[in-house]
């Protein structure tokens, strides 16, 4: 039995109360329409609801509402977070409906979707919310029957006397919990006794998604709402001066057009944005706005250098060669220079990767209704709290007067960590004095910045005469931030090690992109290690396992980020499951393992050549993310990460000319498609009782390295530049 104190977040454990107004915490009909599936029709609709705490509301008919606190971007937290609450509450999952909680910093912590942190950071709070409610309902029953709580048990929302006949449902007893004291201490379940966690539950929004119900920000509508679009300058380094305002305003269906400025004092990192001054157009229909956008004739002035992809490449090359830019010696163990000198074999390779766009399938959009002293924001954001803060600064309005509600998001991938489009909606609504929904076109979305940065990194390794790794160095330059994790593998396994991070400047704005930097470092480092293993004449998995042995028995340095046993564990698991030693004619294999977002993933890619083109047949994945809350959904996440990783490494890039992106839609920007996806992905989870860690991101990075290594096995080409499809030479394929 685990006893925990309930002070984890006292504020979210207010006294049980009869919920006002039929029990809708939000009191907002469009979003409460976003309750999950049709259970409400199957169980009688409650006459009264009781707010047990910030996460749970129980109806007198036994229907239970669980609020999912975090934004849903496709990582499926709207199912998995409530599952954790329901586990400890001990209710029948069939009686649970899920609602999106609004932003409420008083109730919840960590209401954001980023860093694969949702479950990891809220694991305890969610368990406690369920356990506290369970305890209070039991106390209410104990009081009613004049027995002690110890004499009661609960199964699936029914409280029963251990030595008697009496039973009562949560729905019936909930009213007795009104006004009760919150217990000082509650009991959490033993992990081995979990009944719901660890079983696969379907996406609570599945039915709504497949029937096309309004769920996304772009689907939101409100009486009297106008639509708005923005036009940003065509190139980074340009600024809007003026435009043919009168002409645009006179166009059919256009009600207003003006220049907006969303610059705020002391911007935070979430305020990153390509263009702060833009043209805004307001109107009645999307199509008329799109036509008006095309009719804009603006004067743009050049305020800083207009960059091109050639310049970007040269900048990164120079940064690596001469150390221009800001250099930081991020870690140094031993004496790498001396070790390289005495090494019997030295190998050095440079890897590059271009800028990339996020390309969430749902383009940026937001609803805002700003009045003189209130602002209501509804839409897709991974960061509701920073959005609220920035809107408060922009409108000069106290935070208490601002509300933020989250819609389901058509993808996030880091793009919606940046809040500028919410600010744009707010300032447009303020100007027009009406509710407004701002919509980006795909072109707006793809050409306005916050991209995945461009990278170049040089890796160098030295082997002694017995083919032991004695020196390793990595130097990573990025536009703008160098891709370096100094304390990750192979740090800790090599006596002489150095990691240097070089930041360089660009006016192209960048931001976090699914598994920031890791998606690059994993690809580079894991292909490099493949080459080092080959040079050492060792099997790539055995070579890595040797290094992990070193990190287990006699680690170098103290700051190593990873647990070597768990890292080696996933490699061993994937080795076993994929029958690594066995060779199938025509099938070429590559392996990679990576640790990020506190999760360990190893992957083997099986690739064949079809008419000379690489085709991934199967990807084997071994994952250690601690306890797996919802296994089938977890598999879905890993599958998505693998396909995303392979797709972007293979096909995607954003290039620049005169400061403007050359790719602005999916005709030129290539995303992986059905026929290019692996034919099969099999995922194996390490079973343990460690608290759950990230899943949305860690499946992606190793896919890049494993793919590069499989392509080498198949074609003899070591691809060091992304996108691989561009640099793969078909005439040189030897497979």
């Amino acid at each position: 039995m685990t006893l925990v104190k309930t002070q984890y977040n006292r504020r979210s454990f207010l006294k049980v109360s009869v919920a006002a107004g039929g029990g809708m915490l939000i009191g907002f009909s469009w979003l409460t329409g976003c309750t999950s599936d049709k259970k409400i029709e199957k169980i009688a609709i409650p006459n009264e609801w009781f707010e047990i705490n910030g996460y749970i509301k129980i109806g007198d008919t036994g229907l239970v509402t669980i609020y999912s606190p975090n934004p849903e971007i496709g990582q499926n937290v709207r199912t998995s977070m409530p599952m954790i609450v329901a586990e400890e509450l001990d209710v029948d999952w069939n009686n649970v409906v899920v609602e999106q909680a609004p932003l409420n910093t008083g109730f919840y912590q960590n209401q954001f979707a980023g860093g694969s942190l949702s479950i990891r950071l809220s694991w305890n709070a969610l368990r406690m919310a369920g356990a506290t409610a369970r305890r209070m309902l039991m106390e209410a029953a104990a009081k009613e029957w004049s027995v002690s709580v110890a004499d009661l048990t609960v199964t699936k929302g029914i409280i029963k006397e251990t030595n008697g006949e009496r039973t009562v449902s949560y729905g019936k007893i909930a009213s007795n919990a009104v006004g009760m004291e919150i217990p000082e201490e509650v009991e959490l379940k033993e992990i081995k006794n979990f009944e719901l966690i660890g079983t696969s539950k379907k996406n609570v929004d599945g039915k709504k998604i497949i029937t096309g119900e309004p769920l996304f920000g772009l689907d939101f509508t409100r009486e009297g709402m106008q639509l708005a679009m923005i036009q940003h300058p065509p190139a980074f380094g340009m600024k809007v001066k003026d435009f043919n305002e009168a002409e645009i305003k006179a166009m059919p269906g256009i009600t207003d057009a003006f220049i907006i400025d969303t610059a705020i004092d002391e911007p935070d990192w979430n305020d990153e944005k390509g263009f702060l001054q833009q043209i805004a157009i307001v109107g009645d229909s999307t199509w008329q706005l799109m036509k008006a956008k095309k009719a804009i004739k603006a004067n743009w002035e050049t305020v800083s250098e207009l960059e091109s992809s050639e310049m970007h490449t040269i900048k990164l090359e120079q940064a690596l060669a001469s150390g221009s830019g800001t250099i930081e010696q991020a870690r140094k163990d031993g004496n790498p220079e001396a070790a390289f000198k005495k090494a019997a074999k030295v190998i050095e390779r440079t890897y590059t990767s271009p800028f990339m766009a996020h390309n969430t399938m749902e383009p940026m959009n937001f609803f805002a209704n700003v009045t003189e002293n209130s602002a209501e924001l509804i839409g897709p954001t991974q960061m509701p709290e920073p959005l609220e803060k920035s809107v408060s600064k922009l409108l000069n309005m106290p935070i208490e007067n601002i509300t933020v509600n989250m819609t389901r998001m058509g993808g996030g991938f880091g793009r919606r960590l940046y809040v500028h489009y919410g600010l744009e909606a707010a300032i447009i609504s303020k100007k027009t004095g009406t509710p407004v929904k701002l919509i980006y076109t795909r072109e707006d979305d793809m050409t306005q910045g916050t991209y995945r940065p461009a990278y170049q990194a040089t890796y160098k390794a030295g082997l002694d005469e017995n083919n032991n790794l004695i020196a390793f160095s990595v130097k990573g330059a990025g536009l703008p931030e160098g891709p370096i994790f100094p304390n990750r593998f192979p740090a800790g396994t090599v006596e002489n090690y150095s990691a240097e991070k070089i930041d360089t400047e660009t006016n192209v704005t960048t931001g976090a992109w699914r598994a920031p930097r890791s998606h690059f470092t994993a690809g580079a480092e894991q292909s490099f290690l493949d080459e080092v293993a080959e040079l050492a004449g060792k099997d790539p998995i055995d070579f890595r396992l040797e290094l992990f042995d070193r990190a287990i028995t006699n680690p170098v340095g103290e700051k190593n980020e990873y647990e070597a046993e768990r890292y080696a564990g996933v490699l061993k698991l994937v080795k076993e499951k994929s029958n690594w030693g066995e060779k199938t004619p025509g099938v070429h294999r590559g392996v990679a393992a990576y640790f990020c977002h506190s999760t360990y993933v190893a992957e083997v890619v099986d690739l064949v050549l079809e008419n000379g083109n690489p085709k991934v047949k199967k990807v084997w994945c071994a994952v250690d993310c601690g306890i797996v809350v919802n296994p089938d959904a977890a598999v879905n996440m890993i599958e998505g990460g693998v396909i995303d990783g392979i797709g972007h490494a293979m096909y995607s890039e954003l290039t620049f000319n005169n400061g403007a992106p050359n790719e602005s839609n999916f005709d030129r920007y290539q995303l992986i498609r059905h026929s290019q996806a692996p034919e099969e992905i099999e995922v194996f989870f390490v079973k343990n009782e460690i608290d759950p860690t990230g899943l949305g991101e860690p499946g992606l990075p190793p896919a890049v390295g494993a793919l590069a290594n499989a392509i080498y096995a198949a074609t003899g080409q070591r691809l060091t530049q992304q996108p691989f499809a561009k640099y793969l030479k078909p005439e040189k394929i030897i497979g």
Partner: protein, 151 residues
Amino acid sequence: MPKYSLKINGEKRSVEVDSDTPLLWVLRDEIGLVGTKYGCGIGQCGSCTVHVDGSATRSCLLQVSQAEGVNITTIEGLSKDGDHPVQKAWLEHDVPQCGYCQAGQIMTAAALLKSNPNPSDKEIDATMSGNICRCGTYLRIKQAVKTASKL
């Protein structure tokens, strides 16, 4: 503005819009059927797929003036209660991640199975490759199409 009379999900709807308005925006802005999604507006992503007389059609490329006199089916009208075999298979395989592309995927798959009830892997690939899923649910989509073909 000119008036158009459309037949959507078996119902007559009349709208007053510019003649070059794509069906996609007629559905979303005028009629309030927002299950059909906008992803690119240039026929590249498949998010906006509807059925026109039973064939999968990109509604972002079909102007309202060309949409009269045909039967238009959107995701909302594919079945009464989400029980079209493709929808059932989608639930069985728990396909969606973010879910945004899925209406378009389902409409493309439903039209495929109507014209080709037992498609091969290659045929599924060829037809479904016009529908992008940024979340990478392609494997589940393929499995679901195969399951649906047996329902």
